[in-house]
Amino acid sequence: MQVNESHSATRTITVMAVLTTALIALAVACLLVGSVDIPAGEVWSIVTGAGSSNDAWEIIVLDTRIPMIVTALLAGAALAVSGLLLQTTFNNPLAGPSILGVSTGAGLGVAIVMLAMGGTVGGIFGQTAGSYVAIMLGALLGAGAVLLILIVFSSIVKNSTVLLIIGILVSYLASSIISLLNSIATEEGISNYVAWGFGTFSGVSMTQMPVYATLLVLSLAASSLMVKPLNAMLMGTRYATNMGVNVQRSRGVLLLITGVLTAVVTAFCGPIGFLGLVVPHVARLMLGTSNHSRLIPATMLAGAATALLCTLLSVMGKHVIPINAITPVIGVPIIIYLIVNRRKIQYFN
């Protein structure tokens, strides 16, 4: 198959334009759609600062819908980039933060911190400003612990399928510890925890937003500075070293970025499945490349758009549907398509 250079540049621009358009359209849809019907004109005047005759509408748009949209698009970009970094670092197309247990590890960290603080298990809802920093640190340590386990095993077992199985096992173990912790939590804690475990983009309040957004934006920016080592790592450790890349250090930096991205999203939104695994593949298929200089921005946009699509679907009905009930519906068919067609897809060979 031939890829003309100018053709590939055109394709990149087209893909970026399509993704950006989809992102904007979905964000607008998320502003307009919800359990409360607000006329589009009113939404417009609220967003532009002209205000509305209905105070409740103003609160819904400014304090619920806008934070939810920002939370979703950052979480989507973050999880998708985590997935991409994990796939390249472990040279495993089926890697992702949820399947390798990084999300569950972060969840366990959250549960332990909340219990240690005498509170109840379950996410960040209703926490004071001081405590959510502790919760986030807990998530970070949990994610970091799982990543360390994965690093240790990846140096012992070279087989990438085995590494996936280890990730899944670690994930089960962390889930079971979370359940055990839950058994000593209060009634209210359990219901909080259950809501958090389902995944939601409505958990970040406007006061928490600066911390959430800053951490994610900085980590995403850091990931886009890693294009050179990421591309070199496609060639394996020996070649990457021969091209001047300190593979051990680069891997450490990449996993640190992945850990922060996954931990922050998990602490605020719950352990969200599939996004991190699926979106990088969608970006690769759309662009037709494994070159990270194009793949990273496309993955961010596609991740943000997918998260907004999930958000839209979750608020369209009479009751809010948990995000984790939607991501598999989108993700599983794509994964099956990839597995069935892996001989035909160039980057698998």
Binding site: M1, Q2, V3, N4, E5, S8, N91, L225, V227, K228, N231, A232, L234, M235, G236, R238, Y239, T241, N242, M243, G244, V245, N246, R284, G288, T289, S290, N291, S293, Q346, Y347, F348, N349
Partner: protein, 260 residues
């Protein structure tokens, strides 16, 4: 006397098993000079890849020292080594989703800045490297769509684009048909002869190695490393020490091995 680019003093190479060093080859005093093509020959398991891995700095020597251009390798940074030696190995790569050009461009990594932006000069080097291996017509193809031989040529082009004084290749002609094998050996010989590079390759292709290489490093079946030109080694009867079987002998007219 040509400049010595890689030299070893009492080098011992091998591997670790159960935490203990197992030496395969010891007391090596080798010298790789600018402008020469050296073929490393030996039977399977003799330690060719192990020796190459030590020379490329991928494994630490068990004993002795390894110098690149007179400098102890252990004092050099990864980047300094990358600018000194280009590698073509037998490792599988997961870069099928890159085009041939993108693959070869990776050879410029040790020379580009933090973000890896390529200058006009970098693009020229890449184009020239592709031309040298005769793969310009495949420049826009996905790496995954190449045949084994084509992929090998592109990996050589990647090493060329790295513009290093030394190129080390682990069995570069293993998957190639006879015509490509001859072409590849000729290309590597030209690189040494005309561009003053030192080229070290391991091979099982006796006749091509004997005809094209300026110098041979022979690992005998009892793990001695003998060096010299093909002529010198044949006169010493060194060729018959490559394999332990008395029924396999070297035929100087064929430049290859045969049954007695």
């Amino acid at each position: 006397m040509a400049q010595s680019l890689i030299s070893t003093q009492d080098l011992a190479v091998g591997f670790k098993r159960d935490g203990k060093d197992v030496a395969l080859l010891t007391g090596l005093n080798l010298d790789l000079k600018a402008g020469t093509l050296v073929a490393l020959l030996g039977m399977n398991g003799a330690g060719k890849s192990t020796l190459l891995r030590a020379i490329t700095g991928d494994t630490r020597p068990l004993a002795g020292t390894l110098c690149y251009d007179g400098r102890d390798v252990t004092t050099m940074s990864i980047l300094e080594r990358a600018r000194f030696m280009g590698l073509v190995s037998t490792e599988r790569i997961a870069a099928g989703g890159l085009t041939v050009t993108e693959l070869v461009e990776m050879g410029r990594q040790p020379h580009t800045g933090f973000l890896g932006r390529l200058s006009k000069h970098d693009h020229e080097v890449v184009a020239h490297a592709l031309e040298s291996v005769g793969m310009t017509h495949k420049a826009s193809s996905y790496t995954a769509s190449l045949s084994d031989g084509e992929r090998q040529k592109c990996m050589i082009a990647r090493a060329l684009a790295q513009e290093t004084p030394v190129i080390v290749l682990d069995e570069p002609t293993a998957f190639l048909d006879v015509a490509s094998r001859i072409e590849t050996m000729q290309l590597l010989r030209d690189l040494a002869q005309e561009h003053g590079k030192a080229v070290l390759l391991s091979s099982h292709d006796m006749s091509q190695s004997l005809m094209q290489a300026h110098e041979l490093w022979l690992i005998t079946h009892d793990r001695q490393v003998l060096t010299g030109t093909a002529q010198e080694l044949m006169e010493q009867g060194a060729m018959d020490r490559l394999f332990p079987s008395p029924r396999i002998c070297f035929n100087e007219n064929l430049l290859d091995y045969q049954l007695k």
